[in-house]
Structure formats: structure tokens, C-alpha cells
Point group: C2
Chain length 209, copies 2
DNA sequence: ACCTAAGTGGAGAGTGTCCTCCACATGTAT
DNA sequence: ATACATGTGGAGGACACTCTCCACTTAGGT
């Protein structure tokens, strides 16, 4: 039941299927979800037809490629809940989620996309969501997270971090600022030094891309 | 000398040129800088050849379309410098810049792109940059902006805001959090209510796009 | 009114990606 | 060993976008 309703492929076909998802993870991470599927097939060492047979739409492939990624996401939330210090768990979690996004361009895009047909993936998404709601609640009860914070603010943060992902150190600095704003005043050392700012001259001067 | 080195077009050609830049502003604002140039030409009511004759590369067109936008940007900075309260000027400025970006998808993209050949545009960019450096300095001297703030943080903010621009109220909330983090603790009413959070359920649930 | 340099639009070549079809290959059950 | 369902790759049609060429049109000076 690890892969519920898939009709049992021939051994070589199953092998190819996995090669394709592995290649997709690689290519999506580097080039985003819009990468040409022909490139993915080439990377996997199979013909395009094989890719399309297994994954009729791009969404199918993305969902298959990021089932694990979403699970890792939910696991990170679960791990944060295990921290006896809920505020520290909250801060560490946001750091980890941002780091995961920064390391995988496709993941950042996949997180803001719904996959109606991908049950396993959506189940992990729900698990992450509910864990996060609980974590937010605990951090508020502990008096460390401001009362008007809402779990949706995490979405905002992740989308914002995705926007600056190009410049590696930038998201750390953004996160540091935001964590300070999320904290209840006076409960956190406000004097902690900020992470290194982005490279001089980047401002309004073009990041080329 | 408003348009220094352009070789004087025939009246109808000049008219068409302006129709094209106007159409480009419209299309870029709505669909981003990647919009098909055929669509821009159709919107302008001219053939593609006319567009390409005046603007050999996409960059040329983008630069022409956003010369005004960049000027508006620099003007906003200048206006902020006129505010006797530098901190209020700073806050209002960030609000305005974010609002401009949110209203014009192309502008947000153009700001993070260099246009080596577009002198007028780059001049405005410089004007904005230098004004901003001055404003940041004043707000620090006034004791309202934290000392470890750097002008490049504005870039980070703008890139972050661009990342959440899809959900209209989200950038306001992000900005509110960040302004609180930028302020020197104790100098600003930390109890001001946050702007309305983004719609419930957006979290990790897909913004479709 | 006429002439010509300047300007125009649409057709079409070039390119890249999506997706399907089908002749051929290969696992697997007997 | 044989047979056949299952699986494969590459060729190629469809489409979208970029950019150029050229026969025709028009502004504006004489």
C-alpha cells in the first residue's frame, strides 16, 4: 500500500519510472517547474514517450517528484513540535523551511500549487498545516509569539523568502527581521546581530538573473 | 534634449512609437515583461515589424516603457526626503514603492534588471538610490531607524514584496511586520494593529496562480 | 501636383516545446 | 522455447513566439 492504486508495472518500467522522478527532482530543483520535459527525459536517459506515458500531465510529474519533499516539510514541522521550547522550535522551523526552499527552486513553486489528484502529497500538506497551527498556538501560549500572528503569515513569509531566494544570504536577513517582528517585545534579545546583508550595490541596480 | 540622440522621426512614426510604448506599459503591467511582443503590437494597433524597427530588442522596449516608471520611483524618494519627519518619510516611501510594484508586475521585474544602454532610465535609478541612502542616514540620525539597517535591505524588502504581490493584502502585512523590525525598539507604537491577514486557507494550500 | 525618402504590415522562415503515433524490443508466464 | 502483453524511443505534427524581408503606402519638401 505504499503506492495504493498504481496497477503494478513491469520491473523495467518501474525502474524507468523511478529514473524519471529522480531526474525530475534534479531538474526542477535547478530550473524550476517550467523546465522542458524533454530535458527531464534526457536527464533520465529515457525517451519522451516513456515520460508522458507514466505522467500524462506536468502536474502528475511534479506531484510524484515532490511527494518526498512535502513529507520532509511535514516532518520538519513535526520535529519542531518535539522541541520543548516552542518558540525555539518555531524559529528553527522557519529557518529550515526557508533553507529547503532556497535549495530547491521547484519546491518553492510546488508549495504554492494545489495538486487535487495527488492524495499522498496533499495528506502531507495537511499534516504540515495542522502541525503548524499547533506550534503557533503553543508559541503564543508560551508568551513568545505575538497574539495577532496567524498561521497564514507563514505562507506570506515563505512566498517572500522565495522572492529573494536568488541572493543566497538575503533570505536569512529577511527572516531575522521578521522573527524579531513576530516575537513579543522584550522576550527575545533584540541585540543579536543580523546576518550579513546582501552584496553592496545590488539595490535597484539589477540582479541580472 | 528631452530625447537626446534619437534621429527625429516622421510625425506618423513618432505617433506609432508612442502607441507602442503605451501598449507595452499596459501589457507589461498586467502580464510581466515576458509577454509576447506580437500581443504588444496588436494592442498598439501596429504590425510587429513596426515594433521591431523601433525597438530591436525586448530590453529596448522595456527601457522605453519604464523610463517614466523609474522617474516616478525617484520622485517618490525625493518626496520622502521633503518630509520633515524622516522616519515617517521612510515608512511612507516603502509603502508607496510596494504599492507601485503591486500595481505593475512589469515594474517589479524591471527594477531588478539592469539596462546598460538606457541612460535616462539609469540616471533616474541613481537618483533614487542616492536619495534613499540619504533618507536612511537621516532616519538613523533621528534615532528611529536601527543602526545596522543598510540601504540594500530595501532591495530585499522590494524583492520580498514582489514575491507576495499575487495576494493583494499580503504585502501590506509583510511591510507592517518589517517596519516594526526596522524601527529602534521603543520609539514606535508597537501596538498598532496589523493590516488584515491574507485569506484563510491560503497557507500551503496552493494559490493556484 | 509630384517625388522620394521614410515608414508600414503581413507573410513566412527559424526555433523550441508539447504531445502522439507506431514499428520495434523486452519482460514474464507457460 | 515460445507467445503475447507490456513497454520503448524517436520521428513528426501542432502550436507559439521571434525576427526579417519586401512590395506597397504615405508624409512632407519642392
Amino acid at each position: 500500500m505504499s503506492t495504493p492504486a498504481r496497477p503494478a508495472l513491469r520491473a523495467d518500467a518501474e525502474r524507468n519510472r523511478e529514473r524519471v522522478t529522480a531526474a525530475a527532482r534534479l531538474m526542477f530543483a535547478e530550473h524550476g517547474l517550467g523546465v522542458p520535459l524533454e530535458d527531464v527525459a534526457r536527464q533520465a536517459g529515457v525517451g519522451v514517450a516513456t515520460l508522458y506515458r507514466r505522467f500524462p500531465t506536468r502536474e502528475d510529474l511534479v506531484a510524484a517528484a515532490y511527494e518526498d519533499g512535502m513529507t520532509a516539510y511535514a516532518d520538519a514541522v513535526a520535529a519542531a513540535l518535539d522541541d520543548p521550547d516552542s518558540w525555539r522550535g518555531f524559529c528553527d522551523l522557519l529557518e529550515r523551511l526557508c533553507a529547503m526552499q532556497a535549495a530547491d527552486r521547484g519546491l518553492a513553486e510546488a508549495l504554492t500549487t494545489a495538486f487535487p489528484g495527488a492524495r499522498a502529497l496533499e495528506a502531507q500538506r495537511d499534516r504540515a498545516y495542522h502541525g503548524l497551527v499547533e506550534l503557533v498556538s503553543r508559541a503564543k501560549v508560551a508568551g513568545r509569539l505575538r497574539r495577532d500572528f496567524v498561521p497564514e503569515d507563514v505562507t506570506v513569509l515563505l512566498a517572500a523568502a522565495a522572492g529573494v531566494a536568488s541572493a543566497p544570504p538575503a533570505w536569512r536577513r529577511l527572516l531575522a527581521y521578521l522573527l524579531q517582528a513576530f516575537a513579543v517585545p522584550g522576550t527575545t534579545p533584540e541585540t543579536a546581530p543580523l546576518p550579513e546583508p546582501p552584496a553592496r550595490g545590488a539595490l535597484l541596480r539589477g540582479m541580472t538573473r
